[in-house]
Symmetry: D4
Subunit: 168 residues, 8 copies
């Protein structure tokens, strides 16, 4: 596999069920990526080392998912110069996901995290592609094709719906 | 002025008070940008035309700020292939900003908006710089210098605090 | 079927389970209607064309349902001169429906959406009938009969309850 | 003054500061209207009589504003066959307006209230015009002109903004 | 059965599953009561007549349960001079019960509703007994005995817990 | 002064600004009452003694106001057999009053607190009068007169409003 | 068993399912503890006696769990000089746990409760160990070893994840 | 000054207005302490070094205050074996303090933060004293005296209140 451009990290292996949607999207876009488990709270030293070196290893964008008092995206964004996409994960212990959302979104001035919707790792993958597409015409075209495919899917479903609906 | 790479748009000129923080950051990073008022609700056709052509005009990243039922960032993200950074603005009529946050953050699968904290246009500017820095070593270095400056400011303030604190 | 007066649209075919309650009510009132899938985020051009022409096709009232960061009702209201009834749908990914409610309800000055309760497409159908009833004595009478039927149902259930309750 | 078509009611005279925005809009549209203070909690008999007879007096649309545990819009909608537009008012004693919003919006099946944004009586006025416009080409055209005026205002402000912005 | 002193009403027969807990408590206290289905929204005339006459029929306390935009307790309190205990019911369509709680609790000055916890009709029954106990030594004693029984149950469970816990 | 029937307690003297509204209402109803500062958290022994003996001193109803994690109403309700009316006070340190509301309202089964709206001590006073009115025709009549006065005030304000409104 | 240093109490035996996680942690740290059921609302006298004497019996730290309008941790903290750790329990009747959290966390000045996350009794146990570790090098070392074990577990899971991930 | 036992840190010097209340309490208890500005997001390396060494420098308890997406208390708790008391600070940019509260309170299993009420640094100071009091009879007695002083203050205020109240 070629040099990964996107790095997907998550606080716990149980987050993979949500986070793999980012991986699936990146595969569709043929963007090389890596994935790892890095916990801000249980492996702070690994997190620190990871964030300090990611850009030196050729990583361009980081996708970080976490739940509850979710500090992983924000801490990585504090240490790394790379853009960090945060995915709030709705864990079983969380307050309906509000804790995950607020502790990732409400970062102080100076340290942004590009936050996507609760559990929406798929959007994190698309956003990573769009970021890389800023300087890569091929990826930008794939993003446009992706949008067209989305549009066509809806139009097709609308046609199927019309057939059922009008034949009531 | 050279070709703008970042485009800052907002739903109303009253949002400029918040949104100009993004402009200030981009000036600090010497990244050329443009700014305009585009309302999804009151100028839908301008919004549509804007979003369809922004990438053709050389724009790389869009920063969109709006308040209340804030549809501007999401609609632009629906139409344009570019990465869109959303700034929830706490307007006087909003429900303490919760409406702005949720209507920008909770985008459906397929159409991400990179959401930053409520009113935090400064972070939108930094994030835009980080996105451009993916393929621009000079900007990446500026981001790193910016982080160092932030760090130094805190360390200096900590020293001043220590002097006052220990001389109580 | 005669010229539809009400148009029911929704962002995804999965919303039909909720939205068909509007259709059922309109059938009960013998008000001709159409239904379609129109996504603000995935088919923005179709949405735009739909909203620009609905009133030209003889549509009098639009019912639009969507979930999460729900932009469909507000964007159609921005483009069409017709009254738009918004149905917040509680989708699986939403933050307990709060995002759907706030992104439909909290529209800025100038562009109202007539919002009904979460998932309550049935009320959207009744409201559409009431709007048409403003200038149609027959529909107005049907609305009054509907209210009487609701009342009679409750009174009948109260009688059944009394029989069970007093024979304890 | 000619026969009023819209009736604006509110639970307290202190709500007039918010509710008069509906009156101003209706005047702009030259739609005759009445206004009165009707409290569901303090004058329930007046409220009852009002709701039972409004449609007999030629009223076509009711706009009802209330705050806190706001029962006026819902109770009038329970009694009258007319469409009722509810304006949640953020009163000083309310829980940041959430009580006003939820007790107007979340009406049970069978009794809709067309709810607009918190304190947004102006949108209630526009919505009333749109409802009347369903069968009145003149009002429909005024709605379209209103939208164009909104659009032109934004475009003008955008031009002024550009002049200031580019001459920095 | 003797003259009922407490009247339990609810907006829908589906609320009985929650509201019967009030009935069970009143039976335990041997306080005569009645129960009925009265909907503020679907049978406003019955509600009005009920509230105007309850105190004339010898009722001393009203317990009213409702969900969503719950207007029954507040409207009955607006019309009747009797103390009204409100039970917010968490219905399937409600926003996690917040709408039920706020539209019952946040009554304006002049018209109180004695609100108990979400779905806690049992507490409504106890509160009704306490209210009647103000001038009835026998009921007051029963309330005291009820509290002792609660206390003894906990103490017994604590002993059982200790046996299991220490024999681990 | 005659034997007090109602006892108003609050956790801090700063709560008196809110709580005195209950006193004013009771004076209007000529119901003798006492008032005191009793803190569940800072004077637990006084609170305990107070709650154990209030009914022995002839008190019939307790009104307890507190803010933040407000335990006073619930703890007094746990100890005393009397009905306890809880007034959630919005203190400067509270989370917009939500903490006050929830820690008073959401009492467990067996120990009700009759909760009124945030800061609405006036309603607590009226509710106390209604409770005493259950067995006191004179107070019941005063409650009815109070309601009539409220109604007349609104009707008078409505007339004044009409004069201003029609003479625009 | 030796003198217990930590005392775990809870309002109901149904809370044990959550609270036993504290017990399991204390056993892992070999810290002697006791556990009991003490209800602030149903056994206020036992609660009072418990809180007054706990420190006299050699207890050093109290862990108190409760749900809904949860007064147990705060009342024990009001009476006892010992540090009290509060565990908000999400009970079936609670408003999604928000009531439990706010009525434990938002204690007034002068009476702190060391609150941990919703249902997270395990963290209460660890915190108790850390508190005892302030003056007990052996426990402090166990806390450090515990953290290392957590870290190793994550690192191991990360390795397993890598194996699965790279062999896709 | 003698060896500090408590360390107060905060993310920004603007937090000192809130956090100094902890310092004032510790001075009252004559507990030696230090204070410093340590930002998890802007000085991550200083934070890391601080947390790794605090217990080696003789610190027994850490008090950490931060606002917004507040990661300082949780990250220090992740690295240090010492008990960490978290103070959620309501900053101007925060969502009414909910972000501060949830991102400090909702820590995952294994890494507790002893959270106190919003802005309540005074309680953090008292809790630190109670923690040290576990093994220091002198401090424990001071805590007890502090509680008595709180109680006496309330009793005195109650007497003053009675004088004013009875002489009305």
């Amino acid at each position: 596999m070629s040099q990964p451009l996107v790095s997907i990290i998550m606080g716990s292996d149980s987050d993979w069920e949500v986070m793999q949607q980012a991986a699936i999207v990146l595969q569709q876009f043929a963007i090389p990526f890596e994935a790892d488990i890095v916990s801000a709270h249980r492996t702070p030293e690994k997190m620190f080392a990871y964030a300090q070196t990611a850009h030196q290893r050729g990583i361009k964008v980081i996708i970080a998912g976490a739940g509850g008092a979710a500090h992983l995206p924000g801490m990585v964004a504090a240490i790394s110069p790379l853009p960090v996409i945060g995915v709030p994960v709705k864990s079983t212990q969380s307050l309906d996901g509000w804790d995950s959302v607020l502790s990732i979104l409400q970062m102080p001035s100076g340290v942004p995290v590009a936050t996507v919707a609760l559990n929406n790792a798929r959007n994190a993958g698309i956003l990573a592609a769009q970021i890389l597409g800023c300087n890569d015409q091929e990826i930008l075209q794939k993003v446009q094709q992706y949008k067209e495919r989305l549009s066509n899917e809806v139009i097709q479903k609308a046609q199927q719906f019309q057939q059922k609906f009008t034949s009531r």
